[in-house]
């Protein structure tokens, strides 16, 4: 790939790994993330990685902007700050698994099936967040 285009391909959020005193691989989850490689964190590994990561966001932006042009300012505001916002106020505690049923229905995901539905089912995720830290972060006590 040519070096000139690299700047435009940088990922928008780069995770910062803390160097631990015990060893170079201490903080790094070798099994899940593979070998340490700085290039993987800065540049996308596939031409579609960035567009796929932000796909839902970009689709929503496009749809809401079209809706604003057709139906006026209040239509997208109502759809973003009305029911979805209300539903997100009554969620479970952050570390508990949630089916997100209301949010799925409001977004229309209950009537479509896609690649994201089969693998990586969040209800069968083997990872769990640290409960105390997550609740403290949510309440702003951290």
């Amino acid at each position: 790939m040519n070096a000139r285009g690299l700047g435009s391909q940088l990922k928008d959020s780069i995770p910062v790994t803390e160097l631990s005193a015990s060893g170079p691989f201490e903080q790094h989850d070798l099994l899940r993330k593979g070998l340490l490689c700085v290039k993987n964190e800065l540049l996308p590994s596939h031409p579609l990685e960035l567009s796929e990561k932000n796909f839902q966001l970009n689709q929503d932006k496009m749809n809401f902007s079209t809706l604003r042009n057709i139906q006026g300012l209040f239509a997208p505001l109502k759809l973003q700050m009305g029911d979805p916002w209300a539903v997100q106020q009554v969620q479970r505690l952050p570390f508990l698994p949630s089916s997100n049923l209301s949010l799925d229905i409001l977004r229309g995901n209950d009537e479509t099936i896609g690649f994201e539905d089969t693998p990586n089912d969040p209800s069968q995720s083997e990872l769990m967040g640290e409960p105390h830290l997550m609740v403290e972060y949510k309440l702003g006590l951290l």
Partner: protein
Amino acid sequence: MLSPKASGTDTPGPLFPVGAEGRQGVLGDLGCQAPAARRGRGWDVVGGCDAAPEPQPGPLHSVSRNASLERVLPGFRIPRAHKTGTTIAGLVFRDGVILGADTRATNDSVVMDKNCEKIHFIAPKIYCCGAGVAADAEMTTRMAASNMELHSLSTGREPRVTTVTRLLRQTLFRYRGHVGASLLVGGVDFSGPQLYSVHPHGSYSRLPFTALGSGQDAALAVLEDRFQPNMTLEAAQELLVEAITAGILGDLGSGGSVDACVITGTGAKLLRTLSSPTKPTERPSQYYFAPGTTAVQSQTVKPLTLELLEETVQAMEVE
């Protein structure tokens, strides 16, 4: 069909492939396949991670792993997704649409499947022929069929061919051509019989007759010559079989027999193996070789030296 080239060794070889014969060594045994747009399928080959609640590496992390494996191991090439040779064609006749396809699936220059199905079901009166990467076409059409079923249950109406086409081309455009599926969508709905061709990057066109795949030139030549609007079913079927046969005989990537699907206002009929332009070859004798037929020229045994670094003994408590 996609399958990694079978590594012909039965005995476990060295861990890292040495030399040209070990091309598929490690990854071939594990059955890993190239990541470029695989699965959902063809999938195999639709590997896009999507808006999940938390960012997961998804299948795209294997792209960098494969690239570094290619760099590190000499003479090693990751298995790539191969396009299959195909001839698919369709035409609109008086009462509906007729779709046709050959039945050969290839992997480079080897025939992987002599009788595979390339006409996929999407809705009771909408069928789709798939060319290009076999797994891509298969998984894309399956996803489209599931979504059309959900959509028609939700709207309470029969699915339309334009809806299927729009769904397919929006999916294909989203993956910018990495999903290598060329599809012919044909069906009958309330606005009559329609035939659309959808290309891997997401473009489409509505046509009275068309052909796709590596044998499209041969099939299109026949169709261009003899197509008439408003043909009867018999004439249309005969023309379609001739078009696919031209593809089978003239294109190396197409072969097998001709499959067809006739869709009218009352329903669809899938005609499997409608015609076989070529007879299957008769094997003249048995190909069983007694052990010892091939003389062993030389034999080298290399013991794998392991040295014991550390030994810990943990006593187990037995009650």
